[in-house]
């Protein structure tokens, strides 16, 4: 399918193989990228998409294989090489300097200078603002990146890549943290670049997005290319078939079970923002045994902050939490975990994993206390057994649990974080965007696990900005906006209209352009 003239091709990978410690991420993959088109790349977690892009961006070198550009073989030994060849990339995991301003980030390594008089900060800010305005980002270029929420940081990354005058622009899941309005803006920018002849490489798990903007599609499965076509020739069913080898599964199969007593009750949870105002504004709600409560909200609605208050990350948060009708007095994560609360954080690299430890050590990190004999000695056999159990029950692809956790794909790393939380034996599980950056197959896995755990009597709170997800998975739906809990309703009473309307309340003044 999809034979086109070869002179359209700007970059080609031939027979590229890439191995990491623990996993072969790419096996003899061929890829052709075309000029003035959106080249879409899909595949499950760990299929090798990100690896392929890292090779094109010069971040990784292929273990075997060749790269050809404009009919000539090239070497991409470093990101600088790639930039020289006009290749720009926006990574899935953000690569920004939090301690520098937005403008400094955009112009990193090619600062605007005034000859010998150093960096021209004023000019940088002005130019950066131009790029940001083109993206309608609503970000002032002289703010520090670390002060921005993650969605806006993503926009800064995109602005940086756009500013590079690239011939090939790679976007690795650029929309995973963007709101619907921000996505529209991004698509407009993509269309503009396309018209200028830029080859766009677009990686995403959101199939409807791919259908909307893609021209050519390449499907990866287990490091190999399983499908190659023009987007207008195929449908979503074809993509899913190529991705997982069978038709789409209904990911939220409803296992009906009765709900038990109330497990957790929040009363008046509030968290003050450093910049004034409340990030979480007097939230009260309760969840019963076996119940899944979906918390829907846009970026900055305060969902993550609410979860952080519940787990005890912020010592200055206010309000009361009751577990099994008893007030929870422990204030730090250690005490709260001991009382049966577990959190799966949104940002797994920064808050979920200890990168230099092994898969096994990461899994048992939060629950070492369970394996202790005589008050101090860790029973290694007991620990190993529990780790093997977790790997099996979550079907984590780990050839050897003693390998470093970074040798695994993103989806499997996410499972390790989930496994770590489950090994503490929680009563209440908080999942912050559990499906962020996860593909259809792994999503189904995670959702099935959530259903199963709820069936076993766990109370689950999860946050999401995906409407289908919140409608399909939740027993009850809560909507947050600007730190406030706008409404809580049964799934039966909820409709997409009501949810969207509720979530935009208080978001009318979202832009934070002028200080």
């Amino acid at each position: 399918m999809g034979q086109t003239e070869n002179d359209d091709i700007i970059l080609e990978l031939r027979d590229v193989t890439k191995a990491y410690s623990g996993i072969v991420a790419l096996k003899k993959a061929d890829l052709k990228l075309r000029r003035g088109a959106v080249n879409v790349l899909v595949g499950e977690n760990g299929a090798g998409k990100s690896t392929m892009m890292r090779i094109i961006a010069g971040v990784e070198r292929p273990t075997l294989g060749e790269i050809w550009m404009d009919g000539q073989r090239i070497q991409l030994a470093s990101p600088t090489d790639a930039v020289r060849h006009g290749i720009g990339i926006v990574f899935q995991e953000l690569n920004l300097f939090g301690n520098l301003t937005v403008a400094e980030n955009i112009f990193a390594t090619r600062e605007l200078t005034r000859g010998l008089f150093g960096i021209d900060h004023k000019a940088q800010v002005t130019k950066a603002n131009e790029f940001l305005d083109r993206l309608e980002a609503g970000i002032a270029a002289d703010t520090l990146v670390e002060d921005l929420p993650i969605g806006q940081q993503q926009l800064v990354e995109i602005a940086r890549a756009v500013s590079l005058d690239t011939r090939i622009l790679i976007l690795d899941e650029p929309t995973s943290a963007l709101s619907a309005a921000e996505v529209d803006v991004l698509f407009r920018v993509i269309a503009e670049l396309k018209a200028q002849g830029v080859a766009i490489v677009y990686i995403s798990h959101r199939l409807e997005e791919l259908m909307r903007i893609g021209d050519y599609i390449t499907v990866l499965k287990d490091g190999q290319i399983t499908g190659n076509a023009k987007v207008r020739d195929v449908d979503t069913a074809w993509i899913v078939r190529s991705m997982i080898g069978s038709d789409a599964k209904d990911f939220a199969k409803d296992v009906s079970h009765t709900l038990g007593d109330e497990v957790i009750r929040l009363e008046d949870i509030s968290l003050a923002r450093a910049s004034g105002g409340l990030a979480v504004d007097h939230v009260s709600l309760s969840v019963r045994k076996g119940e899944i409560l979906g918390i829907y909200g846009l970026m900055g609605a305060g969902r993550s902050e609410l979860f952080e208050c519940i787990i005890g990350r912020h010592s200055h948060s206010k309000g009361r939490i009751y577990i099994d009708s008893k007030e929870l007095l422990a204030r730090d994560p250690t005490g709260r975990i001991a009382h049966g609360i577990a959190l799966i954080p949104e940002d797994r690299q920064r808050e979920g994993l200890v990168q230099c430890l092994s898969i096994a050590e990461n899994l048992s990190l939060a629950s070492l206390g369970q394996f202790v004999r005589f008050g101090f000695h860790i029973d290694r056999a007991l620990e190993g057994e529990a780790i093997a159990n977790a790997i099996r029950s979550l079907s984590i692809k780990a050839r050897n649990p003693a390998f470093e956790v970074t040798s695994m794909s993103g989806g499997n790393q996410q499972k390790v974080v989930i496994g770590k939380a489950l090994m503490t034996g929680p009563k209440v599980l908080l999942m912050d965007e559990p499906s962020r950056g996860i593909d259809v197959g792994a999503k189904a896995d995670v959702f099935r696990t959530m259903r199963k755990l709820a069936g076993e009597g766990l109370a689950i709170l999860f946050s999401t900005s995906d409407l289908d997800e919140v409608m399909a998975l939740s027993d009850r739906i809560a909507v947050m906006s600007s730190g406030r809990l706008v409404c809580v309703m049964d799934r039966a009473d909820a409709s997409e209209d009501i949810i969207v309307k509720a979530s935009s309340e208080g978001h009318k003044t979202k832009r934070m352009h002028a200080r």
């Binding site: 193989t17 890439k18 191995a19 990491y20 410690s21 623990g22 996993i23 072969v24 096996k27 070198r61 292929p62 273990t63 075997l64 294989g65 060749e66 070497q75 030994a77 787990i311 990350r313 730090d332 994560p333 250690t334 709260r336 975990i337 001991a338 959190l343 954080p345 920064r350 808050e351 979920g352 994993l353 200890v354 990168q355 230099c356 430890l357 050590e361 990190l365 939060a366 070492l368 206390g369 202790v372 101090f376 000695h377 860790i378 290694r380 770590k420 503490t424």
Partner: protein
Amino acid sequence: MTTATPMATALPSSSGSLLLTVMKLRTFIALIAVIIFFSIFAPNFLSTANMILMSKHATQNAFLAIGMTFVIVTGGIDLSVGSIVGLCGMIAGGLILNGIDLPMGYTVYFNILEVAIMVTVVGIAIGALNGLLITRLNVAPFIATLGMLYVARGAALLFSDGQTLPNLAGKPELGNTGYAIFGSGTLLGIPVSIWMLVVVALGAAYFARFVPLGRHIFAVGGNERASRMSGIRVDRVKMFVYMFSGFCAALVGLVISSELMAAHPATGTNLELNAIAAAVLGGTSMSGGRGTIGGTIVGAFVIGILSDGLVMMGVSSFWQMVIKGLVIIIAVVVDQAQRKLQARVTLMQMAKQG
């Protein structure tokens, strides 16, 4: 293509992994190399007396390096250990010579076991002070312990107005004789200080592997935020490592003053740098998260034997410093090379297996 291919042709996987094994055991090989080198070029190097003497010297570094390893693994640094050695030696000397004056005109003297316990408590307390500065007041470890380096050294000098406290033999009528046991006593023909090192080293190695707090040390060094979210009490872990480092320094203070039977306030100057060097030589990563007690001990012995051997060969002390510095730098360079090679060898094998 790129750099991977020439590596693969030049190094079939078997010799690649051989080179890798050699590099992994580099600290150990370095230890054997210095021993062989000096047994050829330094007269009397292999004599039992010399071996024991060198071991005793290396022991001092090794104690400090064990404590330092835990601190570095959490991502911190402890510059105050050398000064704690000096201060603890002075306190031991002061307790033996002068006892403690009580307000009613009595003076209490302690037996040497009590003295030893009191001195280690002082060491732990100074470590706790470091820990509080770092965890409660958010002072960077480098600065907090640098400050403590000066404070503790100054306190040691103030203690006796800069004078040496001589003759710590104690008096039989006061019941405080026998202080020499830590520095020059032997048990089964081996110095007591070496037995103490064996106990502390085995304890620390066990602690790192089999005690939750020990495992937490590595997690905190690897990713502090994730550790906190996993319910690890990060502040408690940090307090522990600085207190343990203080404890190790106090032991060295006891051993040195007991060996000399005198306490000098400048004792232990620059020892913190030896301890850091030993830990790094043994494969501890300065960025935190990685390190082993075994590696650190071997590292301490390499440095100890190197300095003593060079003295025996009559190499000038100026050259000694240059050589010691080069060894440390080479160790780190090899460490980096090993990590790269290791990654490459396993990747090539996996790519071939497909």
